[in-house]
Each structure stands twice: as structure tokens, then as C-alpha cells.
Symmetry: C2
Subunit: 192 residues, 2 copies
DNA sequence: GCTGGTAGTAGACGGTGTCTACTCATCCTG
DNA sequence: CAGGATGAGTAGACACCGTCTACTACCAGC
């Protein structure tokens, strides 16, 4: 526990750890407060509502994912198409290894909470994707934003359905690599 | 209220209506029981747990979606590629017009509840998709199951992110038609 | 006519999110 | 230096939730 960390930040951190370790059903307002060592009424000073605290934890996840993506891209290098493969892999890894966090990040009921909405926090990541698609896409036919949107949706769907378990059962695969490959090829053409 | 409808079916029906009309936060066990006109302990005779009742409601959604898909396909006709477009449209319409239901259908925490799992109930729909893809796919390169899985994931992602609101904001579009078009073309080649 | 099981009731229990009244320390002002 | 205002956190109440258990009608079969 960092020394001079305001309660606000501590609640976000403790809540995030709780979420990652014990899943979405564990992040009740009272349990977070308990783990943070304060009374159950204390969070209310910083987050008027349980959903606002959850929303802050979800936003934390988006900034973390964006950071991971940026550093992976900086480390891996390669042409735009290869970078998109890297970005996609980071995305799927995040969804698979931090399921609870990922789940929370896309919950509908906390979309508008907090001074910066959840959507807005996800925009830098989408912009990164769009920029790469603009450089990598094979044909000028669909605008880059459309291809990027479709590609993001595809990644998101793979992450979601994979965690859900249906794709394993239906395709018999043990990891989503084939799906990812087919998806990248479909939207961007074959790898160089 | 149908005359001779067992409480079990009535709970599923009333719960489904409640879900469609007032959203996922309204389908508490006690509220469903109240609307069904029974005490809050009554559902327990048929559903040992709240999650099992929710799971049954979700399964009801899957069978309804499958029915819609089948009848739309029978009505529309066309070649396999056109039928896939129809199927995709039905899927996105369902997700957009019955958001709460759709959301519930893919909740992780009620995956294994009930004598028939949620996944299993979704299989006929996926099989339908796979069959159509097997007939329509342009190249033999990725197996039909992989293409079908990637396509389903893409549809699911569009539905999810569209409801989430991020795609609207990022692409500026007012409906997901362009995304759907790009997706179908990417995975299946241009329409005939 | 009694008996046994079935369907549903009613109340308790612990947990949850929210609200409100309160304490207590700290800081600013006179 | 005294005193009041403000901010941070406490503690208890409230209604609601899911689950569990004891109880009561009711109805079929012997």
C-alpha cells in the first residue's frame, strides 16, 4: 500500500485487484471499502454511487490496455500490418487473462458514469487502431474508419465468444489463433 | 395470461417480458415472482437458484432468435451468400431491439446453469451459420468452421459495440449497415 | 378416512447500495 | 490565540435482494 495515496486512488486500486483476483461478483461497494480499511460509507465522498466507482475501475482498465498496446507496438516494430497483428494479440491476451476486468470495461450500465465516460477513455485505443488500418489496408474501397470498426468488432467478438466458450465448442480449437489469423486476413488481406 | 400454464413456464414468460420491458436490472427473483402472482419462495420449486431462472429466460431468447432466423431465411430465399446477409441482419436486429435479452444471453455467470447449458442452446444457430458459410465461402483456404466462427464473432462484436455506443462515436455512422457490409465482404467476398 | 407427497406461503438471515446524522481534526479568520 | 466553518470518515437505519427452513393447504391412492 503506497504511503501517500488518497482514498480515492486506493479504492480504485483495491477494487481493481479484487476484480482481477476474485471476479466481478466480488467487487461490492462494501467489500472494496472493507479491503481498503474504511467504513462502507467512506467511498461515497469520492464516488456518489457504486456504479461510479466501478466505472473508474473500468476506465483504469482501458488506460492500462492502451499502455500495453503502445509499449508492445514500440517493442515489436514491423510494418503496419504486422503491428495490427501485435495489437490484436495484445487485445485478446488482455481479454483472456483479465476476464473480469475486460467484462467490466464493456458493461452497459456504467457507460456514462464519471466525469469522463467509459467510451471516451476507449477512444485513444480505437484511434490507434484506425491509424494503423489507414496505413495497412489493401484497398481504398471501405473507408479506414469502417474497416477499423469492423476489425475492432471482430476482435471484440472473438474475445467475448472465446471467453464465453462457444467458439471452443463449435470449432474444436484450443486457442483463438486460427480465428485471429482468418480475421486479419479477411479485413486486411494476407500477411506480407 | 394463458389458462393452463404451469408456474415454471409462467415464470420464464413473465421474467422475459420484464427483461424486455425494463431491462436486466429489473429481473430480480422477487420481482418476477411478484409479477407472476406468487410468493418469493415459489420459484425455488422449479429453479433452485436465481441464476437458473435467468438461464432459462436466456435460453428462451436463443430459441426465439433461432426461430426468427429460420423463418426469415425461408421467406427471403436467395443464394447462400444472400442468406447469410439475411441471417446477419436478423442477428443485429435482435441485438438492437431486444438489448436486455441479448445481454442476458451472453452473460458469463449463467453459462452452465440448467439441464441444457446456454452454449448448447446456441449451437443450432451456429450450425446454421456454418452450413451457409460452407456453401457460400469463396476460397477453400480457411475451413468453413473457422470462417463461420470469425464471422459470428464479427457479428457479435458489431452488435455488442454498437449497443455499447463506441462505434457510433468513432465512425460517425447512424446505423451499422456499413460495418455489416464490410464484414460480409471481408469474410465472404463481394456480393454476387 | 387416513396417509404421503406436491405446490406454494411466510418468515428469518445475512448481505447489498443508499441516505442521514454524527464525530473529529484541520485550517482559516478575527 | 480562540472559535467557527469545512472536509473526511464513522455508524446506524432503511429497503431490497437471494437463500434457507418450517409450515400449511390440497389432492391422489390405498
Amino acid at each position: 500500500m503506497q504511503a501517500d495515496e488518497g482514498l480515492r486512488d486506493r479504492l480504485i486500486r483495491v477494487g481493481g485487484e479484487l476484480l482481477d483476483n476474485e471476479g466481478p461478483s466480488a467487487v461490492s461497494l462494501r467489500e472494496i471499502a472493507r479491503r481498503a480499511g474504511v467504513s462502507h460509507g467512506a467511498p461515497r465522498r469520492y464516488f456518489p454511487t457504486h456504479l461510479e466507482l466501478l466505472s473508474a475501475i473500468a476506465r483504469d482498465g482501458f488506460t492500462d490496455l492502451t499502455t500495453r498496446a503502445n509499449s508492445a507496438l514500440a517493442e515489436a516494430g514491423g510494418n503496419p500490418r504486422a503491428q495490427l497483428a501485435t495489437l490484436a494479440q495484445v487485445y485478446l491476451d488482455f481479454a483472456a487473462t483479465r476476464r473480469g476486468r475486460y467484462e467490466l470495461m464493456f458493461r452497459h450500465d456504467l457507460l456514462e458514469s464519471g466525469h469522463l465516460g467509459l467510451r471516451d477513455t476507449s477512444l485513444p485505443l480505437f484511434r490507434l487502431l484506425t491509424d494503423l488500418v489507414a496505413q495497412a489496408r489493401p484497398a481504398p474501397e471501405p473507408p479506414a474508419q469502417v474497416t477499423a470498426g469492423a476489425l475492432w468488432a471482430n476482435l471484440h467478438g472473438i474475445a467475448q465468444l472465446w471467453n464465453w466458450g462457444s467458439l471452443t465448442l463449435a470449432t474444436g480449437a484450443t486457442d483463438p489463433a486460427a480465428l485471429l489469423d482468418a480475421t486479419l486476413t479477411a479485413h486486411l488481406g494476407p500477411a506480407a
